[in-house]
Amino acid sequence: MSAAPPGITRATLLKDLRLEWRSKDAINSMLFFSLLVVVVFSFSFDPSAEESRQIAGGLIWVAFLFATVVALNQTWARELRNQVLDAYRVSPALPNSLFVAKALGNFVFVSMLEALMTPLFIAFYRLRSLGPTWQLVLVAVLGTWALVVNGTFFAAMSIRTRSREIMLPLLLFPISIPAILSMVQSTTSILNGEGARFWIVLLVSYDLVFTTSCLLLFETVLNAE
C-alpha cells in the first residue's frame, strides 16, 4: 500500500466537488430520496416524543444509507463517461490518491445531506435528545465515514458490471451490517440519554479496519479488467 500524495488527492477532490457543483447529479437525487423518506414516514406514523426517540435512529440511518448509495453510483459513473478513468490509470498518480479523494468527496456530499435533513427529521418527529449532542455528531461523522469508505470501494468494484445499481447494495449492505447496527444503536442510546460507549468503540474499530482494507485492495480493484 502506498500513501496517497496530498496534492493529487486534493486536486481530485476539488475536481469532483466542481463537477458535482455543476451537475448536481448526486446531491439532487440524495435530497429527493431522503425527503421522500421523511415525509412518507411522518404521514405513516404519528409517534409520541418517547416513541420518536426509539425509532429515529433506525429511520435516519436507513434514509441516509439508501441516499448514500445514490451518491456512490454517481461518483464512478462520471469517471466512466468518456473513459476518463483510463487517463488516471496511465498517469503516475497513485490509485490510493483517487480512492481517498473519492471517499472524501462522498463524505462531503453525504455530510451536506445530513446537515440539511437533520433539522427536518427533528421537526417532523419532534425529536429532543436526552443525551449529549456532541456524541450524536461523533456518531454521524464515524457512521458516515463507515458508509462512504466501503461504499466508494464497492462502487469501484461494481462499475464494470452490467447491473451496477443492483450490484452495489448487494455488496455493500451485508458488509455494512456491523456499522449500521452500531450507528442505529448508538443514536438510539444517545437520544434516550443512555451510554453508547460500546457502540461508538465498535464503530471506530470498524472504520479503522475497513479503511485499511480498502486502501490495501483498491489498486487491484482499479486495475481489474
Binding site: G7, L19, R81, D86, S91, P92, A93
Partner: protein
C-alpha cells in the same frame, strides 16, 4: 539510447478476453523517433495492442519492454495515450481538464496546459465545457491531454476519427513535427492515406498478429 534503437520490444504478446484471443503472439521491435501507422480491419487487434502497450490491458502472455522497462508504471510519465473516447470531463473546460491532468503528472508549470492547447490549434481561453465542443475539437483537446507530459512515446487510437480533412492534416503535420523532435508515435487509424507522407512505417495487423510492415502504403494496399 539512440533514436534508432528499439524503444519498444514486444515478444510473443498474447491477450485473451475469455476464450477470444485478441492478440495471438505479436512479436515486434519499434525504433525510436519514428511514426508508425497501425492499420488493419476491425477486430484485428490494433486497439488491444495499443491498450496493452499503455498498461490498460494486462498481457495474458509474452513480454513488453518499453524504454527498457517491463513494468508500465516505471515509465508511465514518458508515455502519452489518446483513446477513441476523449478521456476528458464533459462538464469542465479544456483548460480545467488539462490543469487537473497536469497535477497527476506533477506538472507545476501553469503555462504548460495553455501551450499544448495552442499546439493542437485550440484556444486555451475558451470557457465552454468540453461536452459542448464539436467532435473534432474534442479529438484535438484529447491529443493535447496526451501531449501534456511531453512524452517520449505517443500512443494514439483513431486521432482523426470525425475530424474534418483540414484539421486532420493539421494534426498530421503536428505529429510529424513531434516525430522530428525524436518522439516515437503510434497511430491506430483507418485513414491511412492521411499519414502516407508522414509515417515512417505502416504496420498491418490481421487476426491478432502483425501481418506486414512496410514503408510503402501503396504496396500494402495493393497486397490487401
Amino acid at each position: 539510447m539512440t533514436d534508432n534503437a528499439a524503444v519498444i520490444t514486444v515478444t510473443n504478446l498474447i491477450k485473451q478476453f475469455g476464450r477470444f484471443a485478441a492478440l495471438r503472439g505479436v512479436t515486434a521491435e519499434f525504433a525510436g523517433g519514428k511514426l508508425y501507422a497501425i492499420l488493419g480491419d476491425n477486430g484485428a487487434g490494433k486497439t488491444t495492442l495499443l491498450r496493452t502497450l499503455a498498461g490498460l490491458n494486462h498481457a495474458s502472455g509474452g513480454q513488453i519492454k518499453i524504454l527498457g522497462a517491463t513494468k508500465f508504471h516505471d515509465i508511465c510519465d514518458q508515455v502519452g495515450y489518446m483513446a477513441h473516447p476523449s478521456l476528458l470531463y464533459d462538464e469542465m473546460s479544456g483548460m480545467e481538464n488539462l490543469a487537473y491532468f497536469a497535477q497527476l503528472y506533477g506538472i507545476t508549470d501553469g503555462s504548460r496546459s495553455a501551450e499544448v492547447i495552442r499546439a493542437v490549434g485550440l484556444d486555451p481561453t475558451l470557457a465552454r465545457p468540453v461536452g459542448q465542443y464539436s467532435q473534432g475539437m474534442r479529438q484535438r483537446m484529447s491529443l493535447a491531454r496526451a501531449l501534456l507530459n511531453d512524452p517520449k512515446i505517443l500512443l494514439l487510437d483513431e486521432p482523426f476519427s470525425n475530424v474534418d480533412l483540414h484539421s486532420a492534416s493539421d494534426m498530421v503535420h503536428l505529429l510529424a513535427g513531434l516525430r522530428d523532435q525524436g518522439k516515437t508515435i503510434f497511430v491506430v487509424t483507418h485513414q491511412a492515406s492521411l499519414l502516407e507522407n508522414a509515417a515512417d512505417e505502416f504496420v498491418w495487423m490481421e487476426f491478432g498478429k502483425i501481418a506486414a510492415r512496410t514503408r510503402d502504403l501503396k504496396r500494402l494496399e495493393s497486397a490487401q
